[in-house]
């Protein structure tokens, strides 16, 4: 049984232009929780339709009533999700808030499992946030250490077995109102890029533990329309990126620099690369953590590098063509040696 009763939880969803795509699934998933929240707040930054007049919502609201979940639709100011999250934080009177995006579909036990993990010293618990078409096991690269922030490989995007203590969370999570009293960063643009990281890392700084509980699973039905993807002004992301950089500076965080190499080829190619690496590249990238995705890790035995699988690198980059030395040589009608090619590819 959860350590905390669902009656102490308010779920809140900030939504924009997803009335007829993912929002109904998001809400139905809430209805079907094994431990239901006390209340649901829907912040509508979209067209402000009276959803009670829409058949699917009429049914969903009726189901919420049947399950005893109080609900409220609040017309937002269309100023973005961060403002809505902040409003929810100020409005709710429950001990915990469960924030969800309007393209999240929580598995029935998601809230129950997060509540189970919510010990007294825990500020926030996130679950896995899995993308159905990019379903992967965790590799060696994913990290929620704040120093690895630039890496952009959140552990919540992958499956794993054991609960992890992390520095920050992403997307949807359950948090303690008291731990969130510092509030959201209101300088962010309506897209609120990295707002979750700022919000949860401030909890960590205040002494709360932040957890990822892998038994709590939420599916992310990523939709290219609606939500923050309604905004296409690059300046918004730039603004938020700058704020994040300032925050990292304020927190005294030096972000890890990484240099990636990928060897999706034969052992001979690995050996040639290794010699080039030892003689030229190591010095060239001495300020970075070296990560080598390769097929023959034994070639790098004893080398002070982080070795990962080629699959890990595929998960990170998607397409690995930029690392394909044979393609690189072919594209350039290369006539010099393979070791010279490696030196040029990674110069």
């Amino acid at each position: 049984m959860p350590k905390v009763n669902g009656a102490e939880v308010t779920a809140h969803v900030s939504t924009k232009d997803r009335y007829f795509t993912t929002l109904p699934s998001c809400l139905l998933a809430l209805v079907n929780q094994t431990v239901t929240p006390k209340k649901l707040l829907i912040y509508d930054d979209g067209e402000h339709i009276d959803l009670r007049q829409v058949s699917i919502y009429r049914n969903i609201f009726a189901m919420l009533d049947i399950k005893g979940i109080e609900w409220e639709v609040i017309f937002g100011d269309r100023k973005g999700q961060v403002l809505n999250h902040q409003k929810a934080l100020e409005k709710v009177d429950t001990k915990f808030l469960w924030r969800l995006d309007d393209d999240n579909v929580a598995e029935p036990t998601a809230l129950e499992k997060m509540l189970e993990a919510m010990e007294d010293d825990v500020g926030a618990v996130g679950g896995l946030v899995l993308h159905p078409t990019h379903f992967r096991k965790i590799g060696d690269l994913a990290s929620n250490a704040i120093e690895d922030f630039d890496l952009g490989l959140n552990v919540q995007w992958y499956t794993f077995d054991e609960q992890k203590e992390v520095d920050h969370l992403y997307s949807t999570f359950l948090y303690r109102k008291e731990a969130g009293k510092h509030g959201y960063c209101m300088d962010l643009s309506p897209v609120g890029h990295n707002e979750e990281t700022m919000f949860t890392y401030e909890m960590k700084r205040a002494g709360w533990r932040i957890l990822v509980e892998p038994k709590a699973v939420t599916w992310h039905l990523r939709d290219n329309k609606g939500g923050i993807r309604s905004y296409n002004d690059e300046a918004l992301w730039k603004n938020d990126k700058k704020i994040m950089e300032e925050k990292l500076k304020e927190w005294g965080i030096t972000v890890n620099k990484y240099k990636f190499f990928v060897l999706d080829n034969g052992i001979g190619d690995h050996i040639v690369f290794k010699k080039v690496f030892d003689e030229k590249l190591r010095e060239r990238y001495k300020d970075s953590t070296i990560v080598i995705g390769c097929c023959y890790p034994n070639v790098f035995e004893g080398a002070e590098v982080k070795l990962v699988s080629v699959n890990d690198m595929k998960a990170y980059y998607g397409n690995l063509d930029r690392f394909n030395i044979y393609k690189w040589m072919w594209d350039r009608n290369w006539v010099l040696s393979l070791d010279q090619a490696y030196g040029e590819l990674y110069k």
Binding site: G268, I271, V272, E301, M329, W330, S337
Partner: protein
């Protein structure tokens, strides 16, 4: 007796064709002659075709191979990983090239033996599964013996 290490075969092709166009066709003849002066050790992977060497050492670790290379008088290989391993530890040897270009895939420190550049395949960076085997692309054993 001085030792020569031979790494005779390239990896198996993925299309089921048994002969990799990089594989040298005259190993048995060459080894027969070499054995008159040298102790010949064949290295490779278990199951590979034997070439009549005095000793066979299959499935060695990279470290074991490095040790073997360091201690031999010289070595001979086709265009496979072995030439790169020996190059990485600074031990020169002989590489028997066929259709791949030694200017690209070889190391100038070695003796890279080639019949002629007209035998090189047109697309050097293509997969080997798309190349036909050409026996005439390789030097004869006499030429190798002369180099040694």
């Amino acid at each position: 007796m001085k030792t020569i290490v031979i790494s005779p075969w390239s990896r198996k092709l993925r299309n089921g064709v048994t002969r990799n166009p990089k594989d040298y066709p005259y190993w048995k003849e060459l080894v027969k002659e070499l054995k008159k002066t040298y102790k010949v050790i064949q290295v490779g992977v278990k199951g590979e075709e034997l070439i009549g060497a005095d000793e066979v050492k299959f499935d060695l670790s990279l470290e074991e191979l490095r040790k073997l290379i360091k201690n031999c008088a010289t070595w001979i290989s086709v265009d496979n990983f072995f030439q790169h391993l020996a190059w990485s530890i600074g031990k020169v040897g002989i590489v028997l090239f066929g259709q791949s270009d030694p200017n690209i895939f070889g190391h100038k420190e070695n003796t890279n033996m080639l019949v002629g550049r007209e035998q090189l395949r047109k697309f050097q960076f293509d997969i080997w599964e798309r190349a036909d085997y050409k026996e005439e692309a390789f030097v004869l054993p006499e030429a190798v013996l002369k180099e040694i």
